[in-house]
């Protein structure tokens, strides 16, 4: 992080000024994920002036980017060198930024096989509620010097500080890929994807929707070829397949037009959930989208019984918080952790947990 940068100085000044008045701030980049999480009040802190790729070295598999940089710009730069963000972050609009990507902590179809946002964060600079510019982690793959604060930022929704810059692990795009489709009921699909994941097959993504299971293979040419022969199914046209996976990643698929949209994160092998509504399943069964007007409590109980939690992802329901509650000891640690970074709770107050 270059400390003498005017855009950074402006953000520091804004935080100092807000702190002196104890006035809350709402951090935003492209605001493409404004729908996500609980409502926030506060003066806008726009991260977009903090833009630009600080360094990119393809042979180091690392890119360092300032938080306000559009995600689209980063992906284009990586694509030029045959690389990508392997966790396929969703793009809910054209203006999404890298800072927002990390803060939201959301990953796309490849999550179950490639890891999530946090698994690819190597380092970060942030501005805490005391107006201090702090750097954690770095630009190297292995680093156990101190607590891994940079990865903690993934999914923190801006509640720990203003993300200023992040270093991300990038990977080569797979040499080959192919998509297959199978006519299959939900229970069979869940069983098949989990059994296949236990075999040395180049699985990259899966989805089940309306009686069909889609599977994406990615890896070495030879591995993809032999997996196609082993698995059978109907081979999709490459362009059609790419459009399908992109429509899941960015939630442009017709399924996602329904409201309210719940995201259930559960143990992958959980049998079909007995909840009324329409569902679409990703991540080998570990991410289950549900459009349902069932009471929040029933949906959350079902997710908890399946080893996970449920998020009201889109569409508000009166009296229902976006995120599931956590156990009392965790709630206490979360609260104290937020206070340790942001003593006055200036940043995105209420977004993760509704304010009292």
């Amino acid at each position: 992080m270059q400390h003498d940068d005017p855009a950074l100085q402006a953000v520091v000044d804004q935080v100092r000024e807000a702190a002196s008045r104890e006035a809350p701030l709402r951090i935003a980049g492209g605001d493409s994920k404004a729908f996500y999480g609980n409502p926030v009040e506060g003066t806008l802190l726009d991260t977009r002036p903090l833009a630009g790729i600080s360094s990119y070295e393809p042979s180091e598999l690392v890119i360092t980017v300032r938080a306000g940089t559009p995600l689209a710009e980063v992906e284009a730069v990586l694509a030029e060198r045959g690389q990508c963000l392997a966790f396929e972050p969703p793009r809910f609009g054209a203006g999404g930024t890298v800072g927002g990507m990390v803060a939201a902590g959301l990953s796309g179809p490849a999550r179950a096989t490639a890891g999530g946002v946090r698994d690819h964060v190597l380092g970060a600079s942030l501005l805490n509620g005391r107006g201090e510019v702090l750097s954690f982690g770095g630009q190297v793959m292995k680093n156990v010097a101190g607590y891994d604060v940079s990865r903690l930022l993934a999914g923190s929704l801006g509640t720990l500080g203003v993300i200023l810059e992040v270093s991300l692990k990038v990977l080569p795009r797979p040499a080959a890929s192919a998509s297959l489709c199978f006519a299959m009921g939900q229970a069979d699909a869940l069983d098949c994807v989990n059994r296949w994941a236990g075999e040395p097959l180049p699985l990259s993504a899966s989805a089940w929707f309306e009686g069909r299971l889609w599977l994406r293979l990615a890896g070495a040419q030879a591995a993809v070829r032999s997996a196609i022969a082993t698995l059978g199914g109907e081979r999709l046209d490459d362009r059609e397949a790419e459009a399908f996976w992109t429509s899941l990643r960015d939630q442009q698929h017709a399924f996602f037009a329904g409201l309210p949209l719940w995201r259930l994160s559960v143990a992958a092998t959980t049998p079909p959930l007995a909840l009324p509504g329409e569902s679409l399943i990703e991540w080998g069964g570990a991410q289950r989208w549900l459009i349902s007007t069932e009471p929040a409590r029933r949906i959350r109980d079902a997710a908890r019984a399946a080893g996970g939690h449920a998020t009201l992802f889109r569409g508000s329901v009166p009296g229902v918080a976006a995120f599931d509650a956590v156990s009392p000891p965790l709630a206490r640690i979360h609260r104290q952790l937020m206070t340790s970074f942001d003593p006055q709770h200036l940043f995105n107050r209420g977004r993760l947990y509704p304010s009292d």
Binding site: S59, D119, G131, M141, S156, N194, V266, T269, H334, S340
Partner: protein
């Protein structure tokens, strides 16, 4: 082996012996009400085996060692210690290399050795639920009949425990492709400092709220006590083959590493040994290494036979293009293991050629491999000591082994200066002071160099969010501001004080 033996180092003010005895009697009396007699050790004969971990230079006897057998006993010990204000240091197999399990003179060492059961292995979900004291390799052995294994493989894997791996975020030779402990763990169950049960992570791929697993993994026992871990298992590759490549110049070898990654290949393992290291290990394992090479690269591919054939072909082309003087591809599993035998025995082989050695563990950007090797060669002259080098080249993690004789105080002193110089040079090259062995007590001073006072204070305050009275493994991982001030320099990061003129509030 004889790693940096027999120098007792202590940084805490020592209370007088009488008050220590009084405290000990008090803690023993309290814990005797909670645990059976066989689970408590406090006489010097009994506690001496616990006085250090794999970093034998630092030794301290705890007030008492508790060996609970159930989670209820763990909770009871923690509650009692919390009430008495006694520090608690959790311990697994004691193989750590940075003193993370060094006892606290006025604390209880909580040995979790009896938590050694694999509770569940599930083929369909590809997970294992294991108690914290299960050995790393035991998980893979148990999962083998299912065609699965646990990927992180630190070289101590026959002895080290999964609880210790969680504490250190351990790596291994395959982590470039398969990730670190954090990437292979779904859930950690344990207890808060107050003795309350707590779970980090979930059976799902994420949990609600802040992702505390990211900081708990690698927290060196400072945030919570781990008793049970749910790990991911991955399918065993059908085949693995390894290329051994020789280079006439370390710079060529460093460039070859960058060229492989640049070609879009992520090898299953990518390791480097320099000439002195190769000579030492060849003498030990007789694997047929090229003794004329300035550096040797081991480059592994795994997957289906077709996949491996394709990748080995691409790797060979890149290595030849980068100036390899000799290439050999393992023809069968026996030969592959022979290629690896020297790399895996680098530490004991060093123990054979020198009375003592000190192992460093910094990480640098891959492109600086040749630069650090050249810098280390200059340091050998400066400090008058020899150094052998092995690297996890694929991820830039260095293990320079400084050879010395601890019986010579001057050599020991020069060795410590040499080590600190390597770490500080690594930070200057854009790296970090520890890639996988942890900070423990060993690298506390180096943390003063890598982080600003505000960054360290933020980390200390993160600890207090989990452990307000700082009773879990206190004095490790993050140095106090006072200690860094004593370390003797005002650290100025990147030549600039961040916002020197900025009022702090």
């Amino acid at each position: 082996m004889n790693q940096l033996a027999d120098t007792v180092v202590s940084h805490e003010p020592q209370p007088d012996t009488t008050s220590r005895h009084v405290r000990q009697a008090e803690v023993v009396a309290r814990l005797q009400q909670l645990l059976p007699a066989r689970s408590l050790l406090w006489t010097p004969e009994d506690t001496t085996p616990y006085e250090c971990d794999g970093l034998t230079a630092y030794r301290e006897r705890p007030l008492l060692v508790a060996l609970p057998e159930t989670e209820a006993e763990v909770a009871a010990v923690l509650k009692a210690c919390h009430a008495l204000g006694v520090p608690v240091v959790a311990r697994g197999a004691g193989t750590g290399l940075s003193g993370g399990a060094l006892p606290h003179r006025l604390g209880v060492t909580l040995s979790l050795a009896k938590f050694n059961k694999i509770l569940k292995l599930d083929k369909l979900s590809r997970t294992a639920v294991v108690q914290c004291g299960v050995r790393n390799l035991a998980i893979s052995e148990a999962a083998a009949p299912l065609g699965l294994y646990y990927a992180p493989d630190p070289s101590s894997q026959i002895a080290c425990t999964i609880g210790g791996n969680v504490a250190e975020n351990s790596g291994g030779v395959h982590c470039l492709k398969y990730g670190l402990t954090l990437h292979n763990v779904l859930k950690v169950k344990g207890f808060t400092v107050e003795g309350e049960p707590v779970e980090f992570g979930a059976d799902a791929l994420d949990a609600a709220g802040l992702d505390l697993l990211t900081v708990v993994v690698g927290s060196e026992g400072l945030l919570a006590v781990t008793t049970e871990v749910t790990v991911k298992l991955v399918p065993k590759p059908r085949l693995a083959r390894c290329i051994m490549a020789s280079f006439a110049d370390v710079r060529h070898a460093g460039d070859a590493v960058a060229a492989i990654i640049g070609a879009g290949i992520i090898p299953a393992g990518l390791e480097m040994m320099d000439k002195p290291m190769t000579a030492a290990v060849e003498d030990f394992v007789h694997a047929g290494y090229d003794l004329d090479a300035a550096a040797i690269l081991l480059c592994e591919s795994d997957g289906t036979p077709e996949e491996v054939a394709e990748e080995i072909g691409r790797m060979e082309a890149v290595l030849m293009g980068a100036g390899a003087t000799r290439l050999e591809v393992s023809a069968d599993e026996a030969q592959r293991l022979r290629f690896w035998s020297g790399r895996k025995n680098a530490f004991p082989a060093s123990g054979r050629i020198s009375p003592d050695y000190m192992c460093m563990d910094s990480t640098i950007p891959r492109k600086r491999l040749a630069d650090i090797l050249i810098a280390i060669a200059a340091m050998e002259r400066k400090y008058g000591l020899r150094c052998c080098n092995v690297f996890h080249a694929g991820d830039g993690n260095l293990h320079p082994l400084i050879l010395f004789d601890a019986n010579d105080p001057d050599q020991l002193h020069r060795c410590e200066l040499f080590g600190a110089d390597i770490l500080e040079t690594s930070v200057r090259l854009g790296g970090t002071v520890t890639g996988e062995h942890g900070v423990g007590v060993e690298k506390l001073n180096s943390m003063c160099v890598q982080f600003s006072p505000e960054e360290r204070e933020q980390m200390l305050s993160l600890k207090r969010a989990f452990d307000p009275h700082e009773l879990l493994n206190p004095g490790k991982l993050v140095p106090t501001l006072h200690r860094c001030a004593e370390y003797g320099r005002m650290h100025v990061k990147k030549g600039l004080l961040p916002f020197a003129d900025l009022p702090r509030f």
